[in-house]
């Protein structure tokens, strides 16, 4: 059939199974928005208030559904505004297709109005990108874009389409399979002798006495939760997860030690530091996970399974490196290994764990007028019984959420990991709500990150999205302040933040706004927010200068972590600020 380029865009999106597009119109993308009028019954367009948030929402939509997230923007500033969101999707391996309008093909290169070399700008932050100047290429390019975004290690693909290519007609037949010359979803370089590698892995596992599994997001992307649980339970090996790996195994599973790395609980990092075998599955040894590479788990052998060949031996050399989908690899590896348990090793880890628990801030009895972020996280977990999806922003609250919310559901946490994009939580919650309409969705952000995404409150109202927004307000850029306190000798620089009256702000948007300043109020507002059938914004006014511990300072080793300063509750200790208050 004969279609315009613009119609081809919408046909492909619908054919690929995505029914929501986050975008913002403008001159060069006008033909596509014109065609949208005729597709509105099959695809819902969400008008965001800033293109960055369209990309972030599309990213979260992918994480919530496994379906490719789509965002759309016009040329020039519209497209450049997508950049942060695309970089976020690149770092966290999210399948996103970004469609941008470009000036008419005869104007390309002439510095035309709103012309930017968008494929040039986004080259290093996309898995691949295209500039389409000829409508005849468009059907194939659109199909390839979705295929590349979704397959192998997922990532963002940008398609920049000249205005005239959107307007011209082309013969269109839906493309059901894509054959590309260079691209393979899984591209191990050279031949891999999989049986020999698996045999070697089995031998390493057989001989291990203190093994730890490092579980990453690759398990999620490979939809390998079941295979992973079977492998864990048969091998009897404890699991530490990366930030993005949270949700690959329930956190109440006896073998799940929980999150590792810079702000992982001390016992988790102690286990890794003392391990004699690391089995890394779908993770990439980010520096926030390893600390100093020279001293990282130096007595451990390493089995590394990843879908991306370029991750093997990048940061940590692997004794056995397998390029493949975690699901396929585990299906073959699990039958080879023996059913085992490691009582002595687990006893040691549990000893470390007990020590960690004794230092927990939740054990400190708070004065009535004080609220700490960890208590807010715990209260949200308890009030929701953990039955919700959480979208966090970046910073202290993000780390406290990982520590004090027990994630028992599959892919329950959606957060910006690799790029650390402030302003992620609210657009992510919007994308998540479209992906999981029946789910209770919470956006948790700090006062800094939230102020980057305030405009999207209008989107929430326009779309009538039932999202609960929690702002953890300490009137500081808390994590930056923490670094300045600990690493820059307490010299605070540009971290103190004035904030608006968030309750009134919510009301200005016609949204229900609430505030809590102590734990009693916190529980009360969480309850009321959940009862309210509609969006709610809650400001939790927390202590200004508390730090996230434990912490491995950048470049330090796992065993050099700073522990929580709190004395065990039994000894009657408390936090420094409370001593000051008492005086």
């Amino acid at each position: 059939m004969k279609l315009t380029g613009a119609q081809v865009i919408w046909e492909t999106i619908i054919q690929q199974g995505t029914n929501v597009v986050f975008g913002y119109p403008g001159g060069a993308i006008l033909p596509t928005y014109d065609a949208l009028v005729d597709y509105q019954d099959r695809v819902h367009h969400v008008l965001v208030r800033h293109e960055e948030n369209a990309a972030l929402a599309a990213d979260a939509y992918f994480r919530a559904t496994g379906k490719v997230g789509v965002c759309m923007a016009t040329s020039g500033p519209g497209a450049t505004n997508l950049v942060t969101g695309l970089a976020n999707a690149m770092m966290d391996s999210s399948a996103v297709v970004a469609i941008t309008g470009q000036v008419a093909s005869h104007l390309v290169g002439s510095d035309a109005f709103q012309e930017t070399d968008v494929t040039g700008v986004t080259l290093p932050i996309t898995k691949h990108n295209y500039l389409v100047m000829d409508v005849n290429e468009l059907p194939q390019v659109m199909a390839e874009a979705f295929y590349i975004a979704r397959s192998g290690r997922p990532g963002p693909v940008l398609v920049d389409i000249c205005k005239d290519a959107q307007q011209k007609m082309v013969d269109y037949e839906p493309i059901t399979s894509v054959q590309m010359r260079g691209y393979r979803a899984i591209k191990p370089h050279g031949r891999q002798d999989i049986p020999a590698l698996l045999q070697r892995a089995k031998e390493l596992i057989d001989h291990a006495r203190r093994p730890v599994i490092l579980a990453g997001q690759g398990i999620k992307h490979g939809n390998a939760h079941e295979e992973f649980r079977e492998f864990v339970e048969k091998s009897g090996i404890p699991v530490a997860t990366t930030l993005l790996g949270i949700g690959v195994l329930s956190e109440d599973h006896p073998l799940n030690l929980r999150m590792m790395g810079m702000h992982g609980e001390a016992y988790v990092n102690q286990a890794i530091a003392n391990a004699d075998l690391l089995i890394a599955l779908g993770m990439r040894f980010d520096d926030r996970v390893t600390g100093n590479l020279k001293t990282y788990a130096k007595n451990a052998r390493v089995i590394h399974v990843d879908i991306d060949a370029a991750e093997i031996n990048k940061n940590v050399p692997a004794d056995v490196g397998i390029v493949g989908n975690v699901k396929d690899v585990l299906r073959e590896l699990t039958p080879l290994i023996e059913k085992r348990s490691y009582p002595a090793w687990m006893e040691q880890i549990n000893e470390w764990r007990a020590d960690t628990k004794a230092h927990d801030v939740l054990n400190v009895e708070l004065p009535e007028d004080v609220l700490l972020a960890p208590h807010v996280m715990r209260a949200i977990w308890e009030e929701t019984k953990g039955e919700c999806t959480i979208c966090t922003d970046v910073g202290q609250h993000q780390m406290w959420e990982t520590q004090y919310f027990q994630h028992t559901r599959k892919n329950q946490l959606i957060t910006s990991g690799g790029l650390g994009t402030m302003g992620f939580a609210l657009p992510a919650a919007i994308g998540t709500k479209f992906g999981r309409p029946d789910e209770e969705v919470w956006a948790i952000a700090g006062d800094g990150g939230f102020q980057m995404s305030i405009p999207e409150l209008a989107t929430v109202m326009q779309e009538n999205l039932n999202i609960k927004i929690a702002i953890i307000n300490n009137n500081f850029l808390g994590m930056v302040r923490q670094w300045q306190e600990l690493m820059h000798n307490h010299r605070y620089s540009a971290v103190e933040m004035w904030t608006p009256d968030f309750v009134k702000l919510a009301q200005a948007y016609g949204m229900c706004g609430m505030r809590a300043t102590n734990i009693k109020e916190a529980r009360e507002v969480i309850r009321r927010a959940r009862e309210h059938n509609g969006p709610v914004l809650i400001e939790f006014v927390v202590e200004k200068e508390t730090n996230v511990f434990p912490m491995i300072q950048p470049g330090k080793s796992l065993n050099e972590m700073t522990r929580r300063p709190i004395q065990p509750a039994a000894l009657g200790g408390g936090m420094q600020f409370m001593k000051e208050k008492a005086q």
């Binding site: 080259l123 898995k127 010359r181 260079g182 591209k187 370089h189």
Partner: protein
């Protein structure tokens, strides 16, 4: 300085990668961008067409003492437009480089000497001017380095080298 460069060029840590890439606009930019953002050091990069007009061939030389060659290979391989990558360093390979060298000549005697040198290197004089000659030399880098070294005394006015191209034998 030239001697240093010759020493460096004899360095066995040099790796030669041959990449077949789709002959499309912007592919060279993608490869160059990858090298830059991963902080990979490349010594030379030669691009040209092949027997298949839809395929270009890149020969990339990297100093493996500063850059992990396997990582470069794997990252290159990830690019959507890259069809194949091969590290031919340890394979039987014919390696060639072409250089054009413009040498100062002050008198006829010099011109005769330079002609002799060119002959000894099985290279050709491709241009003769009043005060200079241009030599075209083909061979492995050491050969080009050697003739440059010999010609240095006469005064080298200009040099252009293509960078290495390579093809496995057989």
């Amino acid at each position: 300085m030239l001697i240093d460069r010759i020493e460096a060029r004899k360095n066995p840590t040099k790796h030669t990668l041959v990449a077949l890439v789709e002959n499309k606009p912007g592919v060279l930019n993608r490869v160059a961008s990858l090298m830059r953002r991963r902080n990979f050091n490349i010594e030379s990069l030669a691009v040209g067409t092949t027997e298949d007009p839809t395929v270009s061939r890149m020969t990339i030389v990297i100093d493996a003492s500063r850059t992990n060659a396997a990582l470069v290979e794997r990252n290159l391989y990830k690019l959507v437009n890259v069809i194949d990558v091969q590290d031919v360093t340890n394979l039987p390979t014919v390696v060639r480089e072409l250089a054009l060298i413009k040498v100062r000549v002050s008198d006829a005697q010099h011109r005769g000497e330079i002609k002799q040198i060119a002959d000894m290197f099985q290279s050709r004089i491709v241009d003769v001017a009043k005060e200079s000659v241009m030599i075209e030399v083909t061979g492995e880098e050491q050969k080009v380095d050697s003739i440059l070294n010999v010609l240095q005394d006469y005064g080298i006015l200009e040099v252009v080298r293509t960078g290495r191209i390579a093809m496995t034998r057989g």
